[in-house]
């Protein structure tokens, strides 16, 4: 194209586009694209003792998690019973009713994700005893978002990936009940955390204005925060199955640490790792 043609076309197009655009430069179609900064935070202070449902006091000394792509959807989460629902367009009275009475939502066992509203694609490995990190920016489209999907990256990537030793989650800590002290390692591979559809993901996590809440109108650029709750992983772990002297307990290593893999304790750990309540998503402008 000659310089004159290019210049003339540019001027003509500029005049026409200016005449036909809306004041904010939008084309005027429904919605808009948005940029989503993405942070990961850890709700629990894993170095502090926390007593689980089986009465064991659990302290984690090391822990790493492989984080894959994150996705956000319009569909209601799998279960949000007794979770206050806040929908931006909901009336105050309706919201108060939900808080006082509580609601059981959506589709136990059959999550329908709906339209994809956002995604963060850059995988990494998280230090569970760290201060949390920022992931690569994600992208999205404006609109009401209610749920999310957490995925594991396999093989893991990032500077901390070697510490996962080929697994997607790896933790080391101590479980104590009375006089029994059990140093342990709890870990899982990608194949061991697949969901009912054989996908390496946890679908139907809550997405709201705060961790644990459901429903937020992503109407502009903002920040999505994935709040990890690792205490959920250990909540149903009965370490008595790996106590010294218990039949079937694996042998300890040279440091006296027992790897709980393959035991009933481990099964409780894996069930916890796959719970949506361990991965809470929220959005703020």
């Amino acid at each position: 194209m000659s310089n004159w043609s290019r210049a003339g076309t540019t001027v003509l197009v500029g005049v026409l586009v200016t005449a036909c655009s809306s004041s904010d430069g939008s084309s005027g179609t429904t919605g808009k694209t948005i940029t989503l900064k993405t942070n990961v935070s850890i709700q629990d202070v894993l170095s502090q003792p926390k007593i689980n449902a089986k009465g064991w006091s659990v302290v984690i000394s090391q822990g790493y998690l492989s984080v894959g792509p994150l996705y956000y959807f319009t569909g209601d989460p799998v279960l949000s019973r007794l979770t206050p629902v806040r929908r931006t367009r909901q009336s105050a009275l309706a919201w108060l009713g939900d808080v006082l009475v509580g609601s059981a939502h959506a589709h136990p066992g059959h999550y329908i994700e709906g339209a994809a509203m956002g995604q963060t694609l850059g995988p990494t490995t998280i230090d569970l005893l760290g201060a949390g990190i920022a992931l690569a920016d994600g992208t999205g489209v404006s609109g009401l978002t209610n749920s999310a999907k957490f995925t594991w990256q396999d093989p893991a990537t990032g500077n901390l990936a070697p510490l996962l030793q080929g697994h997607v989650v790896w933790t080391q800590g101590t479980a104590t009940k009375g006089d029994i002290v059990i140093p342990f390692i709890a870990k899982a591979d990608a194949a061991e955390v697949v969901d009912g559809d054989q996908k390496v993901e946890v679908a139907g996590c809550s997405f709201g204005v705060a961790p644990g809440q459901v429903g937020v109108d992503m109407d502009s650029d903002g920040t999505v925060t994935l709040t990890l709750v690792p205490s959920v992983w250990f909540d149903q772990v009965d370490f008595s199955y790996v106590a010294p002297g218990t039949a079937g307990t694996p042998a300890v290593d040279s440091n006296g640490v027992v790897d709980i893999a393959g035991t009933l304790a481990w099964e409780g750990f894996v069930r916890g790792v796959k719970k949506g309540t361990a991965y809470l998503f929220s959005y703020a402008k």
Binding site: G31, Y71, E113, Q119
Partner: protein, 706 residues
């Protein structure tokens, strides 16, 4: 209507046969020559912007197929997103007519729109028409004439066929990217220009991978004079095979991750064929005229396409195979009679139109790469009928005022044998298919029938202000028929109801003609293409408001300029979960401009032969193409040109498409897709495009034997 109801007084491209010319010569000084003029009375235009483009305009710029000729219609912009043999996507007056859902097409008296085509309602493939044999393109914007029926949502476009070059014509074309074409035609110089036959064979390697295509077609038309009546016979056949590059992610091109013309390597393309017969019997008497035109059309379309990569099926891919085969039998008939109610110019017309379609269609999910059939999505047989009757009255209460009022009633009936297996449709598993909220699972083997009728009043007021300048107001109510498979058993057929109105000025003189108009069209429901389902899906009610200017200037016989500019704002007037009232419709461009200019000087004589030149240029612009989520698509500005020298029996010409070698995007969509199955899926909608053709040169050698 496919008839010649708007035929003008004889010109180079119209009926100028022996009826008007071949009288015996006598003594020039004293002979009295009887001249008999036959023809059909003009129908008054139904709106200010009703336009006809004859061969002077059609031949100004180069065109490769009959579909390309749509660009001479004021307000039309065409794109091609799936290979050279697929029907164009047509934008017109704020409508994304996709492949024809909002535009009624007739060629030579046969309908082109395909009822309930599985890829798109009203699918209209015009590639079977050779551009050389189109004598006139007539466009009726809106739906103001009772002749206009199903699919005339944005308007009606009619092609009249004719070839006026006397004797035998042979052309050979060779050009960029291995394009080759042979064209052969003949026309008896003593016969009407409507009597001719033509053939073409074309192939191209394409301007990039997966763009090869080939087509072949033949057409013959003959007009017989039967006393005061005429019989026109038209027969044609066409077949095309084509590859398709598919869509590519805009970010992949802009980042340099892939070359501009690269593809994702998925085997896509299609096959198309069409055969048609038209018989038109017409007569004209002192105070009446009539036509009866039965027709038969047989169509076959196969498409293999993949818009979403591996989004829905990360292992096997999302390739689908669509097949649509149809046989159409029908007729149009009308009778018009002069009456003397308010003036001697008054007339009344009654018309009948019947169309029957037998359709067999299927959609399969097939393995990307291995072509293995994975799942049957659609397997249906459809029988559809549309019977219509209309009345059209034109009166002149005073000499400067014409009032035309009419009504059209359509009765539609459907029988659907739906053999689609029971279960969830594929769209239910796609995160961004906006159809997922609409379609229940399809029960297998169910037979469903439905009937309905539509009543559409039409009216036009035409006032003569001064000589050659008319002020006109038009109103009409039309409809678009539904996809037959969407109907429930015993359902009263739900139509998309269209209401249009237009006000404007229409002017004409010996040198210049044109119109300036403002229009508004409302729909009670609309259709937008959904890449996830590869079909058009229902969206809320909408409206279009805009204005159009078009003109043609011919100050001297060797110069012609024809231009147009059309601005339209298309918005939703209702909301659903995906769209808000007041927001613009996605994909519909707001401003379309076009200019065709031709110079045809006689340069002199050489070797006792006339040396003529033809130079033409066409400018096409499309601006402000809204995409979903508040974005804009890329504007388009293209220049096509031609140059030809003809020394009576021999001509050498050069056609240049996209002469400025603009980097442009033919089609743009915003949706979710995943073309890298090993990487993280991209679920948020992104821009996907088909890349427009680069500069293309074609050289043609023509021989004329008379």
């Amino acid at each position: 209507m496919g008839g010649n109801s708007a035929e003008s007084v004889p010109d180079a491209s119209a009926d100028s046969g022996p009826d008007t010319a071949s009288q015996p010569a006598g003594n020039v000084e004293s002979a009295v020559v009887d001249v008999q003029i036959t023809g059909i009375r003009l129908s008054p235009p139904s709106s200010a912007s009703e336009t006809t483009r004859d061969q002077t305009v059609i031949q100004a710029a180069p065109h490769r197929t009959g579909g390309d000729l749509l660009q001479v219609v004021p307000g039309v912009f065409i794109t091609q997103h799936s290979g050279q043999g697929k029907a164009y996507q047509v934008f017109y007056r704020g409508f994304d007519a996709v492949h024809g859902q909002d535009l009624e097409f007739w060629v030579g008296g046969a309908p082109v729109n395909e009822v309930s085509n599985i890829h798109g309602q009203g699918y209209a493939d015009l590639h079977f028409v050779m551009p050389e044999v189109v004598s006139r393109v007539t466009v009726l914007p809106g739906n103001y004439s009772p002749e206009q029926g199903d699919f005339a949502v944005a308007g009606t476009i009619r092609y009249d066929l004719g070839y006026s070059e006397p004797g035998i014509t042979g052309k050979g074309t060779y050009g960029s990217f291995g394009e080759r074409r042979v064209f052969l035609a003949y026309h008896d110089p003593d016969a009407s220009a409507k009597s001719f036959a033509a053939f073409e064979s074309q192939s191209t390697d394409g301007f990039g991978p997966s763009r090869a295509a080939s087509r072949t077609s033949g057409v013959a038309q003959q007009v017989f004079n039967l006393g005061e009546d005429k019989l026109r016979l038209l027969a044609s056949g066409y077949a095309a095979n084509f590859d398709s590059p598919g869509v590519v992610r805009l970010a992949d091109i802009e980042s340099g991750a892939m070359g501009r013309f690269d593809t994702y390597g998925v085997n896509q393309g299609g096959f198309s064929s069409r055969y048609q017969l038209v018989t038109e019997y017409s007569g004209s008497r002192a105070s009446s005229d009539w036509t009866l035109a039965p027709y038969a059309v047989q169509r076959a379309l196969k498409l293999k396409q993949n818009y979403t990569g591996y989004l829905v099926d990360p292992i096997n891919g999302d390739t689908t195979q669509l097949i649509n085969e149809s046989t159409t039998l029908g007729f149009t008939g009308r009778f018009r009679r002069a009456v003397h109610w308010l003036s001697s110019q008054d007339s009344i017309e009654a018309g009948v139109s019947v169309r029957n379609d037998w359709i067999s269609q299927s959609q399969l999910n097939i393995g990307t790469g291995n072509e293995r059939v994975l799942e049957t999505i659609v397997d249906a047989k459809i029988r559809a009928m549309d019977a219509a009757g209309w009345l059209d009255v034109a009166v002149s209460p005073i000499s400067r005022l014409k009032i035309r009022a009419g009504v059209r009633v359509d009765g539609l009936a459907y029988h659907v044998q739906d053999n689609t297996p029971a279960g969830e449709s594929r769209a239910d598993t796609d995160p961004n298919a906006f159809s997922h909220k609409l379609r229940p699972p399809s029960p297998g083997g169910q037979a469903r029938t439905a009937m309905g009728s539509h009543y559409g009043p039409r009216a036009t007021i035409d006032g003569l202000l001064v000589s050659g300048l008319h002020a006109m107001f038009s109103y009409g109510e039309g409809f678009r028929s539904p996809q037959a498979r969407s109907l429930g058993d015993g359902e009263k057929t739900p139509f998309t109801t269209v209401r249009s109105m237009e006000a404007g000025l229409r002017f004409s003189s010996d040198v210049v003609s044109g119109s300036l108009s403002a229009f508004r069209t409302t729909l009670n429901g609309d259709l937008v293409f959904d890449a996830a389902t590869t079909r058009n899906e229902a969206v809320p009610a909408s409206q279009r408001m805009g204005g159009a200017l078009e003109f043609t200037v011919e100050p001297v016989p060797w110069f012609m300029s024809s231009g147009s500019a059309t601005y339209t704002r298309a918005t939703f007037t209702a909301s659903d979960s995906d769209f808000n009232s007041g927001d613009k419709l996605p994909y519909v461009p707001e401003l379309i401009v076009r200019e065709d200019t031709a110079f045809t000087p006689t340069l002199g004589h050489l070797w006792s032969r006339v040396l003529r030149a033809r130079f033409g240029v066409a400018l096409t612009g499309m601006f402000n193409r809204p995409q979903p989520y508040g974005q804009f698509g890329h504007n388009v500005f293209l220049v096509d040109a031609l140059a030809q020298l003809r020394l009576q029996e021999v001509a050498l010409g050069l056609d240049v498409f996209n002469a400025l070698d603009a980097h442009w995007y033919d089609s743009e969509f915003t949706y979710s897709a995943n073309w890298n199955p090993g990487a993280a899926a991209r679920l948020v909608p992104e821009r996907y495009v088909t890349v427009g053709a680069p500069r293309t040169l074609l050289m043609t050698l023509s021989l004329y034997v008379n």
